[in-house]
């Protein structure tokens, strides 16, 4: 099953819509609730990142019997130093993002904690792809 959603830069009102839709799909597929929670927490953090830090992008989910593969592909500006961004507490968030309860530098570390595989590829001026995989059984 392939699912795809668009995320729009700065659209905080709808931030989480893609994660919410994927959560409903996983529940319909009777995936273990603990695994559903890990998937949606990781995806939601990545989705908020794309809205808060990037010029929007797409969220895709590919689900088969054994795993879910999620990709959040944004349109830039890209992350100059991924190792720095992965460290808890490091953030470039705007005051607006902090006012939304995010931007404490916990997103990428929290994603890493919840998924079985995480790969972040980024090119400054081009964009970032966050690829996450979670085993469903």
């Amino acid at each position: 099953m392939h699912l795809e959603y668009t995320v729009v830069e700065g659209d905080f009102v709808n931030a989480g819509s893609a994660s919410s839709a994927i959560k409903k799909t996983l529940k319909q597929l009777s995936v273990n609730p603990s695994i559903v929670k890990r998937v949606v927490v990781a995806l939601y953090e990545a989705e908020v990142n794309a809205i808060a830090h990037a010029y929007g992008g797409v969220v895709t989910a590919d689900i088969d019997a054994g795993k879910i593969l999620l990709r959040v592909i944004d349109k830039g500006p890209g992350i100059p130093d991924i190792d720095w961004a992965m460290q808890e507490g490091n953030s470039t968030a705007s005051p607006e993002v902090r006012n939304m309860g995010f931007g404490a530098g916990m997103g990428l570390p929290n994603i890493k904690k919840n998924v079985d595989r995480l790969d972040v590829q980024s090119t400054v001026g081009v964009g970032t792809t966050v690829e996450m995989e979670v085993n469903l059984s």
Binding site: F12, V13, A15, G16, S19, S20, K23, P33, S34, K37, V40, V41, Y44, E45, V48, M100, G101, F102, A104, M106, G107, N110, K113
Partner: protein, 114 residues
């Protein structure tokens, strides 16, 4: 502790989920930081927060957290209430500060998750 008792202790107005007030809840977690709320793993405490935005409801939806108390006189919007209703959540509004609300809940017997 029944949710109706929690509302009474906090002198809170229940704005969503009135049909769930007979349910029990024994743990709470307080934060204005949504990323903190997303680290709670398989614990499902009541959330006490002064951050009153759509993202509060969304964050709790993602974390399977369905009881939210807004402190510091924060008021939920109609849009927030609608999303909360869609997710069968309980929302309460309380005029007290976060410190006072947590103190009263502790005194009444609610436990932290860590």
């Amino acid at each position: 502790m029944k949710l109706s008792e929690i509302a009474k202790v906090l002198n809170a107005k229940v704005i969503c989920g009135q049909d769930r007030l007979d349910e029990d809840q024994d743990k709470a977690f307080a934060s204005d930081l949504m990323s903190d709320i997303l680290t709670l793993g398989d614990n499902f405490p009541m959330i006490v927060t002064g951050l009153c935005t759509m993202q509060t409801i969304r964050t709790c939806e993602m974390g399977n957290l369905d009881i939210i108390v807004f402190v510091r006189k924060k008021k939920a919007t109609a849009e927030m209430i609608e999303l909360a209703e869609d997710n069968d959540m309980v929302l309460m509004e309380c005029d007290y500060s976060m410190f006072k609300a947590c103190g009263l809940l502790w005194e009444a017997g609610l436990k932290p998750i860590y």
